[in-house]
Symmetry: C2
Subunit: 454 residues, 2 copies
């Protein structure tokens, strides 16, 4: 699976900070304890760093019956060259194909048999394998995931069969107007640079990739110091650390000593110039994204951007939904988004409409963007935007999968897990001035326009 | 939103039974109480039937912070004529456009401001408006939903603006290969009969529909005796009944006295003949569904069909996934499905592949279907299939939205809510013989073949 299309109202939940160090031995820290009114612990977040540099972050949730586990590797399409383009995603597929101990069928059977959800996705900056199971089946999930991630055999026949599957997946994305327009936007923003390339690779790069190249890519990036295991739900931290030591230990994976690799360095910001691109496709609809350079992941203004994004196009009460859909009936789907990477980011507005509405849609969206740049948002919109972000955050806390995702991503890309309360405080502290400042900053930048349709 | 594409491993959770009667006064029954090992109540399901015939089913979940509410109306596209084709879905959209008390913006603001999820969908046999909020915001959600459902103004200008939105939505579905192939399959199975028509209507029927027609449709079907409100999570049954009486009472909606309308009568089964249909579209992939007539909703063999569906194409360890994707690399996406309606049903296998793989895909799928008809499944597959269904059921219980969906749909279409334990018992009781019998029954029937692609 590929995680390439940003969703409306995307949030982040952490910030850069000092990285935990192993100093050659395992260390465990409690990061957060939440109690209810009666003083009972409802949630506890703990982190253990193994001497090999592997990080394990868990959140024990009182009353949970399920447990969600994710194995996060700090590698994605931006770590590829033109010859390894698509290797992260190819590898993600191949890891399901078998180890010395398990065939592909054995891997599938193990988690299917207990009704667990079991999947993986590849993004530009990381790869994640994840499962959701009943708490009692967690040891099984740890065992299967550890085996897959550390001991994949990458059999030649499997590489070729899976190559065909990926070529088919690429064709499927080509038939999805959303995917086509988002890939075009990335191309307009970052050109042929690593962030600009589609995650799955191209037909050409996938056809040309050899098993040896994939094998080298695997050995280079799948290392304990570049990996985080996050678990949330019905979990005992000590038990899970033991199970991970057992499961990831095979193939000598945890033998070395290393410090965890910190969050991806920002480096030099790629310059994003105003550009326009069109791809002609015989679709019924035109899909259009109007975007601009956004913020980097460590930018403190991202909380203000979150509120702005919500007010602009994050729900049915947002300006864009009201103007484009409610008042004018111009489109069924309209939303805004903000994505952040280590050294770059994008903001944008995505609309799908009938071809003869395109000009009017673009005009309405541009008017709304200039209004928000000129006047910011209202006090009501500020309060509603905060309510929407905080409410969504709290509603997400019931779900072990959401918590696992939050923990794993935060640990990998921010090096530290921010408490929920801290995130809420940051959202609630956003002012009208900050929102207008960030609106002017991002939407005052040169425009990117991606259009796909007939 | 439209709910038209069946998902893999779809399950049902109830059976026909005597309908509760009001006898002119409100009555409340406790349907199920679940306790943990320590004797604490972890879940309680209660039903109140108001004198007007409105049914309210709640499930109080210990420890939940969220509450999910759904308003279910027993009307969908199969209740339409050729002139009202698309009216159920059109109405679903229009109910968000405002009442005497609230504008469309007021409706959106109310739930956006608390971070709630808020949406609706239309199916062939029912329509559902639903929200997920923090428990403390449940009265707000009840108030907004009650107002929307009972007091929509159906303003002429809104009808025209929303008509354009729906035409755009239809265009979007035309660009989605999955939607196109599933609509084609329904057309092959049921022709121009009510079940065979696409839920959203056609460009022609939507362009021609008048406000007066929609208004009549609304008054005819949105009646208390044809409606179920289901709520799960952090909920107090008595409080919610009071809130619903208050909120649904405006516009005199609850004034009359009526008995709840029972589940849709089965009537005469439409005959499904073997047919083949192709739609030419310039997509990269070919999307194909190979199907046949399935079971009706009240067929006791549906539990065996669930196990069969799981073993055949319900997960990555299933026969189809293994044969089509793992061994041969023929497709990225392959799954089987089973959908049930009051008087008909469909089973099928859906695959998206590159055009030059189509013949091989069809051959492999047909071989697997004949193998399963001839020999059934293995004892291992039976056990895994049961584990997968039961595990998935238990994993779904943590989520207030899943429980609300289960309650509401079961109450509306089965007239009674089966306890989870009862559903599990039915799944666990399935035998190898029953699976083979149902396999022979459904896949021995004439073949439906729907193909969409270049």
């Amino acid at each position: 699976m590929i995680k390439s299309v940003p969703t409306a109202g995307q949030r982040t939940a952490g910030r850069p900070s000092a990285l935990p160090r192993t100093a050659g031995r395992a260390s465990t820290t409690t990061l957060e304890t939440v109690r209810d009114a009666a003083g009972q612990v409802t949630s506890r977040v703990r982190r253990t760093v193994l001497p090999s540099g592997l990080r394990i972050v868990t959140e024990q949730m009182a009353g949970a019956r399920s447990a969600s586990i994710g194995v996060w590797i700090g590698v994605g399409s931006r770590d590829e060259t033109t010859t390894t383009h698509g290797a992260s995603h190819f590898l993600e597929h191949l890891l399901f194909k078998g180890t010395d101990e398990r065939s592909a069928l054995d891997i599938s059977i193990a988690l299917d048999a207990v009704g667990g959800e079991f999947n993986a996705f590849t993004a530009k900056e990381y790869t994640c394998f994840h499962a959701r199971v009943l708490g009692e089946d967690l040891p099984l999930a740890v065992d299967v995931l550890g085996d897959m991630v550390t001991g994949s055999v990458l059999d030649t026949h499997d590489v070729d069969a899976e190559r065909d599957v990926i070529l088919d997946e690429i064709a499927m994305h080509e038939d999805d107007p959303d995917d086509v327009v988002q890939n075009l936007l990335a191309d307009l923003a970052w050109g042929s640079g690593p962030l600009g390339r589609p995650i799955a690779g191209t037909t050409g790069s996938i056809e040309a990739m050899t098993r040896a190249q994939i094998q080298r890519f695997y050995r280079k990036h799948y290392r304990p110091e570049n990996m985080v295991v996050s678990v949330a739900g019905a979990v005992d931290h000590g038990e899970v650390v033991k199970a991970i030591r057992r499961s990831f230990h095979r193939h000598g994976f945890l033998d070395g000593a290393a410090e965890p690799i910190g969050p991806r360095a920002g480096g030099r910001r790629p310059r994003i110039h105003g550009r326009e691109g069109r791809i002609s496709r015989p679709f019924e609809q035109v899909n259009v994204v109007l975007g601009a350079e956004g913020l980097t992941r460590d930018d403190d203004r991202r909380f203000a951007l979150g509120v702005l994004n919500t007010a602009l196009g994050g729900g049915t009460s947002s300006r864009l939904f009201q103007e484009v859909r409610e008042h004018r009936g111009l489109a069924y789907s309209v939303y805004s988004f903000a994505t952040q990477y280590a050294d770059s980011g994008l903001v944008g507005v995505a609309v799908g409409c009938l071809p003869d509405r395109l000009d009017e849609v673009l005009e309405v969206v541009r008017v709304e963007l200039s209004r928000i740049v000129a006047h910011g948002i209202t006090a009501d919109e500020l309060e509603r935007g905060k309510g929407q972000l905080v409410g969504g955050l709290v509603l997400g806390l019931e779900d072990s999968a959401s918590r696992m995702m939050r923990l794993g991503k935060a640990e990998l890309v921010y090096a530290e897990v921010l408490g929920i309360d801290e995130v809420m405080d940051r959202i609630n502290a956003v002012t009208l001035e900050e929102v207008q400042e960030v609106a002017t900053h991002v939407f005052g930048r040169p425009e990117l326009l991606a259009v796909v349709g007939p």
